[in-house]
């Protein structure tokens, strides 16, 4: 736990076993005077939260063996928080699954360990044994092969091995163009393929979760959340996130216009390349060799929100895998990438 430098209020949340003790003792709403028409007015965050919880409950009610993809990032943290709310006071009705590449940031592994230690959490970690045997890594094999073998193949292996028929993911429609066409509950063939031309219509709050053996669903409770919504919610709910999201002095090198953090000794330095210390943070987290940092002074959630409101670059710009080929995300998704 000591490895996770989480801001003080956040840390309490991370360690707490259930709901925040500060808000459980007093009812959130005081009864309005008799006959008064004063009703709570829901903010967009309240509405998004309600929509996500509704979806989580629907999928769990109809799936035989659901699982939540836990990628350790901020979206996963929010999704896990929403899931706890959806099934409170009951326990989480599904395990978490981390499809690991062994190339995540050290701070992410620390966070994963902390979450796995929380009561009521069952965390499954899957590492593609073939990728391990072949020593697949982003430096030798390139981001494309690395992502395909570790993540896309790894995910399929894990889902099949455990027989999961519905997997929650933290993807948002504002992240990337092809995500905008994804349903909240998205059908996958027995081969885990996504067919964008043949999606089930999704009306009202009705989800068709019927399937045959071997077929499965991906469900995205955060579909209608934006990056800003996620941060505002993290602030409001005091949700713990990996400290890499907050600005700090970190050793980085500049490669192809991206600031890459030298997170461990496996990172081969080019001749003459010397890591420099810069105050940076990450908007999105993945494999450290493939994730670009941004210069930032934002050390708190509030500062991140302020910085974002003035920000002019989109979130996935720091993700090298999306730039690999035009339409790469669409292709990856069709092949079964989350």
């Amino acid at each position: 736990m000591s490895a996770v430098a989480v801001p003080e209020p956040v840390q309490r949340r991370l360690l707490s076993t259930g709901p925040d003790p500060m808000s459980t003792t007093t009812p959130a709403t005081t009864a309005p005077p008799a006959g008064a028409a004063r009703l709570p007015v829901l903010s967009p965050l309240d509405r998004l939260e309600a929509e996500s919880i509704h979806l989580l409950r629907e999928v769990v009610a109809e799936a035989q063996k659901p699982v939540m993809l836990y990628s350790i990032g901020k979206d996963s943290s929010v999704m896990l928080h929403l899931a706890r709310k959806a099934f409170h006071p009951g326990p989480l009705p599904f395990p978490l699954l981390h499809v690991d590449t062994t190339w995540k940031f050290q701070a992410m592994y620390a966070m994963r360990q902390a979450i796995a230690a929380e009561p009521g959490i069952e965390l499954i970690v899957h590492e593609n044994p073939e990728a391990r045997a072949l020593g697949i890594n982003p430096f030798t094999h390139g981001s494309s092969v690395h992502t395909d073998v570790w993540k896309t193949q790894g995910l399929r292996q894990a889902l099949e091995k455990h027989g999961f028929d519905a997997a929650f993911g933290g993807a948002r429609r504002d992240e990337e163009k092809s995500r905008a066409k994804e349903r909240m509950v998205s059908f996958r063939s027995a081969q885990h393929r996504w067919d964008p031309k043949n999606q089930r219509p999704e009306l009202w709050r009705l989800f068709n979760l019927r399937k045959r053996k071997g077929e499965s669903f991906r469900a995205f409770p955060l579909s209608n959340w934006t990056e800003l919504d996620v941060w505002r919610y993290i602030e409001r709910e005091r949700i713990g996130v990996v400290p890499l999201y907050f600005a700090a002095q970190r050793p980085v090198v500049l490669r192809e216009g991206a600031l890459i953090m030298v997170d461990d000794a496996r990172m081969p330095l080019h001749p003459g390349e010397v890591p420099m210390r810069r105050k940076v943070r990450f908007r999105t987290l993945g494999c450290y060799p493939l994730t670009g940092a941004i210069d930032s002074q934002a050390e708190t959630v509030a500062q991140i929100i302020a910085e974002m409101s003035a920000s002019t670059s989109s979130e996935r710009a720091g993700r090298l895998i999306d730039h690999d080929a035009s339409a790469s995300m669409e292709r990856k998704k069709q092949e079964g990438y989350f």
Binding site: S23, T26, P27, A28, T29, A31, P32, R38, L39, P40, V41, L42, S43, P44, L45, D46, R47, L48, A50, E51, I53, H54, R57, E58, A61, K85, A86, F87, H88, G90, P91, R173, D174, K177, S178, K181, P196, K197, Q199, R200, P201, L203, W204, R205, L206, N208, R210, K211, R212, S223, N224, W225, T226, D229, R232, T312, S313, S314, E330, R331
Partner: protein, 629 residues
């Protein structure tokens, strides 16, 4: 989700939480400049990032249709497949926010699947932007969009008259379109229309007036979207909450989880659980953030009750003094969404909120011509067609008319075999006869009748190609059973078509109805305690499955009389194959109409290796081996 926010927290609409939330849909085709207008809206609303703008500039040069000038439409064309073919495939959702509001825009493309996509987008929309090209005026498609918007209950409409630059910003042109449109909108029941003259390419009245339409003093598009008042009447209606699941983590806690669909609930409120009609009181509104003093739509909560009432997924918790009604027969508007057409008499799975039922579609009352609103006579619905029909369910459900409550009146239909969502519908009202028709609880039941006959009733359902030998074998089986003292009846294809089903032909729809009637008659006879033998081609899996579903688990014995087509055709006892081959007998199974072989029949008879006598012997043996058979 602390609902106390309204009291202690920042007031709704503050920038801190992104203001309020507006879901809207844009209706129009590529030719109307829809993508350009929506792209321009995003551009002018300052919600694009530097790299999105850089990509837009690069894409405009590479694939744009505007000679290198910014092609705003490119912001919206998401999939590579679409960019290459310059079409849009499906519903896309764009999220953006300004200081005043968060927006979720459903962008639906034109082309053939338009109706299906638009219905999907409109199902969650508060507002619709209907585009009209200033040069073309109202087109059939404008009326179609407006009809669908009205049908789906979208209350606010913006008439966006685009390409005003191409008609020199003439006021007369705009006013004429506005007048025509208002007249039509009124006909379909849309009151609130705001008409705005626009140019997506130049940006007139998207965010700012730009001075080309001095005669227009209304709001700009963005202005209107940011300020339109969203009266949400749901909270003032009686309380309703469909139950999604029962939360029972330990013996001391039992709650029902759901999303409030309308009204307000407070601890102490007297509520009724429908359709069972049990009543109780709400004791707590449980959330992880602490118990609430009240909950409103669309909050997701967990309720606990004073009594240990039976409430499960699909039930509706509602106000005791104004409960929802329950019924099993309805009139509804139906939108067909699948390539396989709707067939009268076929049963589909119906999903309404968390409730599932089996729905059988009674004959269509009429089809709606969406461009003209004319009512047309029709037997079935093809993809993208809209009709009004009656539905019969296999069980009563709690509901409200769609016009009152989208959550309790909107439903989807699912094909039982393919699991595809094939249609969507909106309930109008319950048919009165459902209210009045109560099942007579009879003292003499199936068990009593069967006991008297000393047998276990069942249906032995023979299926197979024409000429496979179904009738021959069924006849032999009946003789043997009769000899064993069993009480039987044989329903044969040809005989039934001379009487009960003489009004039916051989189209797919009629075949479905044919089998539906046979299945219902068989069920009645099983209730009478008989062993029923049916010999029909019954080519579709879906109908055989429907017949199976009418009966109890072990009462349906499917016998596949399996004869290769070539063998059956060579026999051709009735000369039918020859006729069909000549084209004199259309829709003949195996020739120009499909036969869907059973995947797991209880009994399979391979007639190429087994004589009719041996087959009959085998079937009787199987029947006698059943417990109590």
């Amino acid at each position: 989700m602390k609902s106390g926010k309204a009291i202690d927290g920042p007031p709704a609409g503050s920038a801190e939480d992104g203001g309020t939330l507006l879901r809207f849909i844009t209706c129009g085709s590529v030719e109307d400049g829809k993508s350009t207008l929506l792209g321009r809206l995003l551009y002018d609303a300052d919600v694009l990032s530097d790299d999105q703008l850089a990509a837009l500039e690069a894409d405009s040069k590479q694939t744009g249709t505007r000679n290198g000038d910014l092609d705003y439409a490119l912001l919206l064309d998401g999939l590579a497949a679409e960019r290459e073919q310059a079409i849009t495939i499906d519903v896309a959702y764009r999220l953006f926010s300004t200081a005043r509001r968060k927006f979720i825009a459903a962008d639906t493309p034109g082309h053939e699947q338009y109706t299906r996509n638009m219905v999907t987008g409109a199902s969650t929309a508060d507002l619709a932007v209907v585009l009209v090209d200033a040069r073309k005026g109202l087109l059939p498609q404008t009326r179609r969009h407006t009809t669908i918007v009205a049908m789906l209950g979208v209350r606010h409409v913006v008439l966006a008259v685009t390409k005003m630059d191409l008609v020199d910003y003439e006021e007369a042109t705009f006013r004429a379109i506005e007048r025509d449109y208002r007249a039509f909108a009124q006909r379909v029941g849309i009151g609130a229309v705001v008409a705005i003259p626009l140019s997506g390419v130049h940006g007139d009245n998207v965010r700012r007036p730009l001075g080309n339409t001095p005669w227009y003093d209304g709001p700009t598009l963005l202005d209107h979207l940011e300020r339109v008042e969203l009266e949400d009447g749901r909270a003032t209606r009686p309380f309703r909450m469909p139950v999604q699941s029962v939360n029972r983590p330990h013996p001391d806690f039992r709650g029902v989880a759901g999303t409030v669909a309308s009204g307000v609930v407070r601890p102490g409120d007297r509520v009724m659980i429908q359709p069972s009609g049990r009543d109780t009181r709400v004791t707590r509104i449980v959330t992880q953030d602490g118990d609430l003093a009240c909950a409103v739509p669309p909050q997701a909560v967990t309720l606990t009750f004073a009594d240990d009432v039976d409430a499960g997924r699909g039930d509706v918790v509602c106000a005791h003094d104004a409960p929802v009604h329950t019924a099993d027969q309805f009139e509804a508007t139906l939108v067909w969404m699948h390539e396989a057409p709707m067939l009268r008499g076929r049963s589909y799975l119906m999903k309404l909120g968390p409730r599932q039922a089996t729905a059988t579609i009674a004959p269509l009352k009429y089809k709606v011509h969406v461009d003209t609103l004319e009512h047309l006579a029709s037997d079935s619905l093809r993809m993208n067609e809209i009709g009004v029909c009656e539905l019969a369910l296999d069980r009563p459900i709690a509901f409200e008319p769609y016009a009152v409550n989208r959550d309790l009146g909107g439903f989807i239909l699912i094909d039982r075999l393919t699991n595809e969502t094939v249609g969507a519908g909106m309930l109008h009202f319950a048919l009165r006869r459902a209210d009045n028709l109560h099942w007579q609880a009879l003292d003499i039941d199936k068990r009593a009748r069967a006991a008297q006959k000393g047998q276990r009733p069942c249906v032995v359902w023979f299926t197979g190609l024409s000429g496979a030998g179904k009738s021959t074998i069924a006849n032999l089986v009946e003789k043997k059973l009769h000899a064993l003292g069993r009480h039987t009846v044989l329903l044969d294809g040809d005989n039934v078509r001379h009487g009960l089903n003489r009004d039916l032909g051989f189209t797919a729809a009629d075949r479905v109805e044919n089998i539906r009637r046979i299945a219902e008659v068989s069920k009645l006879m099983v209730d009478a305690g008989l062993i029923v033998l049916t010999a029909f081609i019954s080519p579709f899996r879906s109908e055989r499955r429907m017949a199976r579903a009418l009966l109890e688990a072990d009462e349906f014995i499917e016998v596949h009389v399996d004869t290769p087509l070539a063998v059956a055709e060579a026999r051709d006892a009735k000369g039918l194959y020859a006729k069909a081959r000549r084209g004199d007998l259309p829709n003949f199974t195996g020739i120009d109409s499909p036969y869907e072989a059973p995947e797991q029949p209880e009994i399979r008879i391979d007639t190429t290796v087994m004589s009719p006598e041996a087959a009959a012997e085998h079937i009787v043996e199987c029947l006698c081996r059943r417990p109590g058979g």
